[in-house]
């Protein structure tokens, strides 16, 4: 029993990481006033770049950085269509998801003669940070032994974010751009540039998320690798109403659902239905919030 708990905990942490990274990006983006529907696209691009670069350079670090930078660049261009060309952010985001999926598939097909799955030689996976001996610790041992740099980075980001958003100049300005664009403009802030920064930031973190998906354990790229995780990330920060720590806990819970899906199947809970829980939770959460608001307004 203890052993199962230990395994589930370890798996939950690992599976939560990509969702958490993307959610961090998405929540900062949303604080800046942009709802990013295209986290999925940037994760996919990040995963693809990570595998290719890791294979070419043999360095996980270069691969992770390349993934983040490419995705940040995509995010920045995407942001320009919204802030400068006034494209509707939802449609442009859905369009970007289609475009990036097509583009990645295209490159894979033409450049690597692969369809669906891309296997590359000498892909370096993310290293484990702690020596294997920590696995002997009770309960958390396995989770600690599995710790990779991106997981640590994700949780450090969560710890730093409340401070960064509430106490730094950039954080405050970003939130001003999102919550009161006309005020931000009136006091001389360039709110569009701030929003572009926010979207590039979301791209950066989604790229990391994609890199984690590809390099944490499997070391290959697949067109279905992200499997809607960009939308689960969206669900996470919507459900936690943009609060970093709350979002992280929700992500951990989604990671837990992912980790236990197969086990729960044996007690009669179908995995397809468990997979819909994150989405159902968001709708329920939105309804409760709205209902509360309405009740307060009437009282």
């Amino acid at each position: 029993m203890m052993q199962i708990a230990e395994q589930v905990l370890a798996a939950s942490v690992v599976l939560a990481t990509p969702i958490l990274l993307a959610a961090i990006g998405g929540l900062v983006n949303r604080q800046g006033g942009i709802v990013n529907i295209a986290l999925e696209a940037k994760m996919l691009a990040g995963a693809f770049v990570a595998v290719v670069v890791s294979s070419a350079t043999g360095s996980w670090l270069v691969a992770v950085l390349a993934a983040a930078i490419v995705s940040a660049a995509i995010g920045y261009l995407f942001s320009l269509t919204i802030t400068r060309a006034r494209a509707n952010m939802i449609i442009a985001g859905l369009g970007l998801n289609v475009l990036v999926a097509g583009f990645v598939g295209f490159i894979m097909n033409v450049g690597f003669d692969a369809s669906g799955t891309l296997r590359m030689p000498d892909v370096e996976l993310l290293p484990k940070l702690l020596p294997g001996s920590v696995a002997a610790l009770p309960l958390v041992g396995e989770a600690l032994a599995d710790l990779d740099p991106l997981t640590v980075f994700a949780w450090l980001s969560v710890a730093a974010l409340p401070f960064l958003l509430a106490n730094t100049r950039l954080g405050l300005r970003l939130r001003a751009a999102g919550n009161a664009a006309h005020v931000a403009r009136a006091v001389g802030l360039r709110e569009k540039s701030l929003q572009d920064f926010g979207t590039a930031f979301a791209g950066f973190y989604s790229g990391l998320a994609g890199a984690h998906l590809a390099l944490a354990s499997i070391g290959l790229f697949n067109e279905g690798l992200t499997a809607g995780r960009g939308f689960i990330a969206l669900a996470a920060f919507y459900f936690a109403r943009n609060r970093p720590v709350g979002t992280a806990l929700v992500c951990l819970f989604f990671g837990f659902l992912d980790a236990t899906q197969i086990r729960l199947q044996t007690v009669g809970l179908p995995p397809q239905l468990i997979g819909t829980l994150p989405y159902a939770m968001v709708i329920l959460g939105l309804c409760l919030t709205a209902w509360n608001l309405k009740r307060k307004a009437q009282a």
Binding site: I37, A87, F231, L234, Q272
Partner: protein, 360 residues
């Protein structure tokens, strides 16, 4: 999502503005498409393919013969439904992105009815299956409509999430209750032969669902253009405050367009299940809801534009699969073009798009 208000056409004859508007409509349709084909051409040139040759091949594969044309119209069929389902909401300013999920559940309901109803029901199975599909999908989108109208729950998020729930739910059902006993995982049985929609041009898969789709577009045109409810829905989309001031019940209008959207999407799913694939299996919708959205956006919600756009994307899809066979160009180019169209369709390209398109 009202983009901008209509500019007054003061001091001009009544004919000129109409012509001008028509020209602007055509440009608004053509520009994003041209941009997308340009992006596609750059990508093709990058891999050393001659873009013009590729596009010429696509053109002949899309429209070159009656068989190819039938394949194009067959691929356009689901898009007619999903585009109408999207347009009906977008023109009311309701950002429904849940058409794909409604399409899937409609298909599931129709396939279930098509296999479970006794064969003795004969010809009545197909219409019954369609009614089942429309009921299920209509209720499916009625719920987020109600949540939006009563509680102001963001319809983008709710409908987006409902898509995934629809996928999970249908995936669950085709692996349990509706699982075929003969043909393996993730699929229902094949529907009764008597419930299949008739093929219009055998051996092509073009089926009478295409005609139902055209009828839907026509009904949408009539509804939008000639009925009070359609006009009210348009006013809600143009300016909610004005609509409220003239006494339109906005919540009722929102719920109505969402429910109709679901009904149309469900009928589309039924047409696809009964006419095209004859069963329901995982991966039932190849993103038809989202391609339909691209079509509706291009068409600026006009009925005529929807037919045009659906045929265009149908041609892209059907030609895309065959050029993959005849050249080194992968099918993914179609997604590149489709995604670019979606992005460019909502970008405000100069003054042209400052005016708002009218439905129908």
């Amino acid at each position: 999502m009202a983009e901008a208000t209509t500019e007054p056409a003061a001091g001009r004859s009544s004919l000129m503005p109409a012509l001008e508007r028509m020209a602007a409509d055509i440009l608004r349709f053509a520009l994003p498409v041209l941009f997308a084909f340009f992006v596609g051409a750059v990508v093709l040139a990058f891999i050393g393919e001659n873009p013009l040759d590729t596009y010429a091949l696509m053109l002949s594969e899309g429209f070159g013969s009656s068989r190819r044309l039938a394949a194009t119209l067959s691929a356009a069929t689901p898009l007619l439904f999903t585009a109408v389902a999207t347009a009906i909401c977008f023109r009311s300013g309701v950002f429904n992105v849940g058409v794909d999920g409604a399409f899937v559940l409609g298909g599931l309901a129709a396939a279930a009815a098509g296999t479970l109803l006794p064969v003795a029901f004969g010809w009545s199975i197909a219409p019954l299956a369609m009614v089942a599909a429309m009921a299920v999908a209509g209720v499916w989108l009625y719920v987020p409509g109600l949540l939006l109208a009563r509680l102001d729950v963001d319809e983008v998020v709710s409908t987006l999430m409902l898509n995934f729930i629809a996928l999970g739910l249908s995936g669950f059902l085709v692996n349990t209750l509706l699982l075929s006993e003969t043909s393996g995982n993730n699929t229902t049985d094949t529907i009764h032969a008597v419930a299949e929609l008739s093929r219009l041009m055998p051996p092509s898969t073009l089926h009478s669902g295409f005609l139902i789709g055209l009828a839907c577009v026509f009904a949408y045109w009539v509804w939008a253009r000639w009925t009070p409810a359609g006009y009210e829905a348009k006013l809600v989309g143009l300016n909610q405050r004005f609509a409220r001031a003239v006494g339109i019940a906005i919540p009722a209008s929102i719920v109505l367009v969402m429910a109709i959207s679901g009904i149309v999407a469900g009928l589309g799913g039924a047409s696809h299940a009964l006419g095209q694939v004859h069963k329901f299996s995982d991966g039932f919708s190849a993103g038809y809801g989202f391609t339909g959205m691209a079509v509706a956006l291009l068409a600026r919600n006009s009925a005529f534009g929807i037919v045009f756009g659906a045929v265009l994307f149908g041609a892209l899809a059907s030609a895309g699969t065959t050029i993959q066979l005849f050249s080194d160009v992968p099918l993914d180019i179609v997604n590149v073009i489709e995604g670019t169209v979606m992005i460019f369709a909502v970008m405000e390209l100069g003054r042209l798009s400052l005016r708002r398109g009218r439905a129908s």
